[in-house]
């Protein structure tokens, strides 16, 4: 607390930190020491895996026998793997559908929740809609599996009440992927709502006041004030939704197990199966490399594209 006890030379060096090399060196040491734990973690579990996976692409490795050089076999196999195309097609449909629904719903819910309403009602609505986001994806997929059962499932019972025929949600190849999408939207739209809500609250109220004075109605306000000013948030939200949805695993692994057949198998599941059921580490790495390329493109798009069409205030 008391600064009077400092020796003179110390005060001197504190006054000119650039001059005293010992101090600069001490600061550097402190810097390295403070960064070391995180750096070790990063090197071991991110940097090393990336390098390893680039090497693995060129190997045949089944974990039990020593790896063998494979050249470009794993890469050429990608082009002739018809299941891979099927699985990517599923992933693409699931990703686009879930991203679209999550973002449209998320934005509308946020607009709805951002209006004047009693505190208790807002709390109740926000709690109900956000809580599924926090729950365990794999465990709640078990719950949805019960709900979507064809014969004694709750969902079919409810749609039966309004006179519709039971739907084979999980057992038909026409519906399985759609069910996975429903589950994802149920699980994630509250998260998007919260992100959009933060974006909406960042829009200054004066814009709405100005629009109202000009006679803008609800839709015109939404179209001319909310949408352009929410676009940075929307761009961000859409990109993270896409990146997240391309990696969906727990959801389908528990809900449909990829079936029936390959009807709802998505890319992350395919990688998992190739690697940990088939023990084809090399080929699985090649497949995950294709996913890496897609995701990194999306990420770069986020950095570069944001400037292009996003409207900043």
């Amino acid at each position: 607390m008391t600064s009077t006890a400092l020796p003179d030379d110390k005060i001197d060096r504190q006054a000119n930190p650039q001059k005293g090399t010992t101090l600069a060196r001490r600061e550097a040491w402190a810097g390295y020491l403070f960064a070391t734990p995180a750096l070790l973690g990063l090197l071991t579990f991110t940097a090393l895996p990336i390098i390893a996976s680039l090497v693995l692409i060129f190997l045949h490795y089944d974990l039990l026998t020593p790896p063998k050089w494979a050249g470009v076999e794993n890469l050429t196999r990608l082009t002739s793997d018809s299941r891979l195309f099927k699985v990517y097609w599923n992933s693409l449909r699931l990703t686009v559908g879930a991203t679209l629904l999550n973002n449209v719903l998320g934005l509308l819910l946020a607009v709805g929740l951002n209006r004047a309403m009693p505190w208790g009602l807002r709390y109740l609505l926000r709690t109900s809609i956000f809580f599924p986001v926090m729950t365990t994806t794999a465990s709640l997929a078990v719950v949805w599996r019960f709900l979507l059962t064809q014969d004694r499932g709750v969902v079919n019972f409810l749609i039966g009440q309004i006179g519709l025929d039971p739907v084979p949600w999980l057992s038909s190849s026409a519906w399985a992927l759609f069910s996975a999408m429903i589950y994802d939207v149920w699980k994630a739209c509250g998260y998007l709502m919260v992100i959009y809500l933060a974006g909406l609250q960042g829009i200054p109220a004066v814009y709405y006041e100005a629009a109202r004075i000009d006679g803008a109605g609800f839709w015109q306000q939404f179209r001319n004030v909310t949408l352009p000013l929410i676009s940075p948030t929307a761009f961000f939200a859409i990109v993270i939704s896409l990146i997240g949805a391309f990696q969906i695993f727990d959801n389908v692994y528990v809900l449909t197990e990829g079936g029936p057949g390959d009807a709802s198998r998505v890319i992350a599941m395919y990688i998992y199966e190739k690697a940990f059921r088939g023990f084809e580490m090399g080929y699985a790495s090649a497949v995950s490399f294709t996913l890496f390329v897609i995701l990194i493109t999306l990420t770069l798009l986020q950095f570069l594209g944001a400037r292009r069409w996003v409207h900043y205030e």
Partner: protein
């Protein structure tokens, strides 16, 4: 007479024109419908799970379904907890232990590195920080296979270390906290330096206490991610006594899901109950944190 026309015409300027629009009313009504409808859809599966977990197992598949408990068969919970085959509460301790260790470790390593990158000058700092930023772009799915090989070669298969070690730090956490440390005023640190505080003391007694919101946001989401982690246990754990909740529940469903829906649901209720309590207590922080961490990611 004059007064009535006065009050009737006065607000015409803005309010009534605004109020009269049919489209506005329709839009408002649709938004309310959507909000309430979605809120019901979001909460119905959870209330169904709770109600059904309290049904007598004999009736667990009976229709119509309950969305509000009609029976109070708490024995299902006891049956799950006291199950002779599976030590259910062990999953609770495993999940809790791993989540707490991972959260504490991440808060520590990320804030330390955040301090180094945000506040200290040393050779190579920006390159190293650039590494962290770059690794933000690497999705977990892609590093899955080599991580598995690394854990296996470190002889950590079927141990909790396999789940803890890869999560001791996160590039996102480093980034988040570095931004926060950087935004604190320089005078504060100068004052501390003049008072003779060393680096450790500046970090622990001055910077950390000022980073409450960012630390708690990071802590909450790290805890949740660990508690809900499914792929990690699926890859690394083999024995029941090592299992965490998500993997245990997915496996239990296979054993008894077709026979006894109520007990499986009771098990899931137990596993998400801590999340529910946590959420109700800290909702404001969690929702804010989701927005902060999301928007900065």
């Amino acid at each position: 007479m004059a007064t009535t026309t006065g009050t009737a015409t006065e607000p015409v300027t803005l309010r009534t024109r605004y109020r009269k629009s049919v489209w506005l009313r329709l839009g408002e009504a649709l938004l309310w419908l959507l909000l309430i409808g979605i809120a019901i859809i979001e909460i119905a599966p959870i209330s169904w799970m709770f109600s059904t977990s309290l049904r007598d197992p004999k009736n667990s598949f009976d229709l119509p379904p309950d969305f509000w408990p009609t029976a109070l068969h708490w024995q299902n919970y006891l049956a799950v907890i006291n199950s002779p085959d599976i030590e259910f509460m062990l999953f609770f301790w495993n999940s809790l232990k791993i989540a707490l260790i991972v959260t504490a470790a991440q808060l520590l390593t990320c804030s330390m590195a955040g301090y180094a990158f945000g506040r200290l000058r040393f050779f190579g700092r920006d390159i190293l920080f650039g590494l962290f930023l770059a690794s933000l772009m690497v999705p977990a799915t892609v590093t899955l296979i080599p991580s598995f090989i690394i854990i296996r070669s470190l002889d950590l298969m079927n141990t909790h270390w396999a789940l803890i070690l890869p999560s001791v730090t996160s590039a996102f956490g480093v980034f988040l906290l570095r931004q926060h440390f950087k935004s604190l005023p320089e005078e504060l640190l100068d004052a501390a330096k003049i008072d003779g505080a060393g680096y450790l003391r500046i970090y622990w007694q001055i910077l950390l206490p000022l980073t409450g919101p960012a630390l708690s946001a990071l802590g909450i989401f790290t805890f949740l991610a660990s508690w809900n982690n499914f792929v990690g246990p699926l890859l690394f754990l083999r024995d029941w006594d090592k299992f965490t909740f998500p993997i245990a529940i997915a496996t239990i469903r296979g054993y008894m899901g077709s026979g006894n829906q109520s007990e499986v649901l009771a098990g899931i209720m137990i596993s998400i109950f801590p999340l529910l309590v946590f959420f109700l207590l800290a909702q404001r922080w969690i929702v804010q944190g989701a927005a902060i961490t999301g928007l900065k990611g």
